[in-house]
Symmetry: C2
Subunit: 281 residues, 2 copies
């Protein structure tokens, strides 16, 4: 199967074509799958129905590894099957696994994410520094998505603390790490719940994609996020997970998920047209 | 099977009984397994032979998750089987997975590590702050091992940078996080390659266990590490992986691994006796 080669331009092309920067987070919790989903592979079947219902509205899907690892070996298989299904739909696949370890171990995590599981991108923690990030940048077309400023309250503990350099830790992470990889392979996480810092992140990273969680169930404002973080090329993925996945617990869950995704995509389209995201490739 | 309840006292008792603070890292690389190991479950069989040969010399074993994840579903099974085998031997099992994510996702990682895989401890990255660490501290007898100062060169990028508070980032991590959990559940990683900082880490954490990688193949000096980091109670695990696992590629690999582990344990015993590690429980 011929899947896209994802560089910055290809991702921005997808944003223009779909008039969407939506990333749907597949935080699939066994206990929250609607009862209408039956059968042996409930997790994969649920994911498949969500993907089928939203693939014309979303540029990317994000697999939250924790949910699958908590199911053990069967979860690992559901994760692999889901990734393959998304690739067949020619959508960008993010493995949200927050990996990162010293050189030789990091290379094995990269192999697990990009070869075993065949994801296009993986989220990476910056704490261990350069040699823990580089292994995820050694395969053309495969991305590291580095945590800069996360959406949780714990971001205040270290990320928002000021360094002796005058920069906050997340700014220091951006400052240093943006030399490690190009905007064709390196992307950053910046939480929508910290709207005051989003413009700052964008100013530090005018050419890099941002992946923004925290819209939807976590309460971040979609319109504000688009205004602060989208460039005239695009360069933005906004993630929503629970608000779409569990839009309904009833037998209408597929329709409800589509409606929720459509609501977000419509709002995104307005902002994309307003910002006149460059229509040339 | 009745496995030990691991608190600080139980771990220190094991150190005194075995006169060892050795942790053997099972960084099992399929391509480096000696040819003498044959059969379908090569990875688990190799681990089993290493564990059988060293269980009287090592207090703990550390599973490096990356190596197993890189083998996909079969690797996940080998990891689960190995953990169960170590538990049967009544040794402390560390899952070195460098996990960490926001609250609800963190809880699922904790479930994956402590319930699905049944490890006693898991390594956790501090970058996302308090709510990303707490889920790993909610089960009595199960441990979070927080990255403070790692053994790789990338530690210089952020961990060793000075904050506006005057503390280095790794000191700030220790300062703040040591309030999140007690010495019965929370332990810290401090690399043996940064011997100059080890005493500092110990002074900041007089009552917490330290897990020290970087002795062996990475070049840290065992005697120096013991002097700087062991307390009169013990409170120390020193990890060696490759130097033991791959001591020989020949059919004598079991004997060679045991000899390497014995060499380390003998040296540890001398230091434990010198430091007169408290023989009372």
């Amino acid at each position: 199967m011929n899947t896209p080669f994802w560089d910055r331009q290809a991702l921005n092309r997808a944003i223009r074509e779909l008039q969407s920067c939506l990333c749907i987070g597949l935080d699939t919790d066994e206990t929250r799958i609607p009862r209408a989903v039956t059968g042996k592979d409930k997790v994969f079947d649920f994911n498949k129905s969500i993907i089928d219902a939203t693939a014309d509205l979303a540029v990317a899907y994000k697999i939250n590894a924790a949910f699958y690892e908590a199911m053990g070996q069967a979860g690992w298989q559901a994760m692999a099957d889901t990734i393959a299904y998304i690739r067949d739909k020619r959508r960008f696949v993010i493995l949200d696994a927050k990996r990162g370890d010293i050189g030789n171990t990091g290379e094995l995590y990269a192999r697990a994410c990009f070869e075993q599981l065949d994801a296009d991108a993986v989220t990476v923690s910056p704490y261990m520094g350069r040699d823990s990030v580089l292994p995820f940048l050694s395969r053309p077309g495969r991305w590291a998505i580095l945590l800069a400023l996360t959406s949780n309250t714990g971001a205040e503990d270290f990320q928002l603390q000021r360094m002796a350099s005058g920069r906050k830790l997340f700014e220091e992470v951006i400052h240093l790490s943006s030399r490690w990889g190009s905007p064709d392979q390196l992307m950053y996480v910046a939480g929508a719940t910290r709207i005051g810092n989003l413009l700052e992140v964008r100013n530090l990273l005018p050419e890099y994609f941002l992946l923004i969680p925290g819209v939807g169930a976590q309460g971040g404002d979609l319109g504000q996020v688009m205004k602060q973080a989208m460039t005239t090329s695009g360069d933005l993925l906004i993630n929503a997970s629970r608000s779409i996945l569990y839009a309904s617990a009833g037998p209408d869950y597929i329709q409800a998920a589509r409606e929720e995704a459509l609501k977000m995509q419509s709002s995104m389209r307005t902002h994309i047209l307003e910002k006149s995201v460059n229509l040339e490739p």
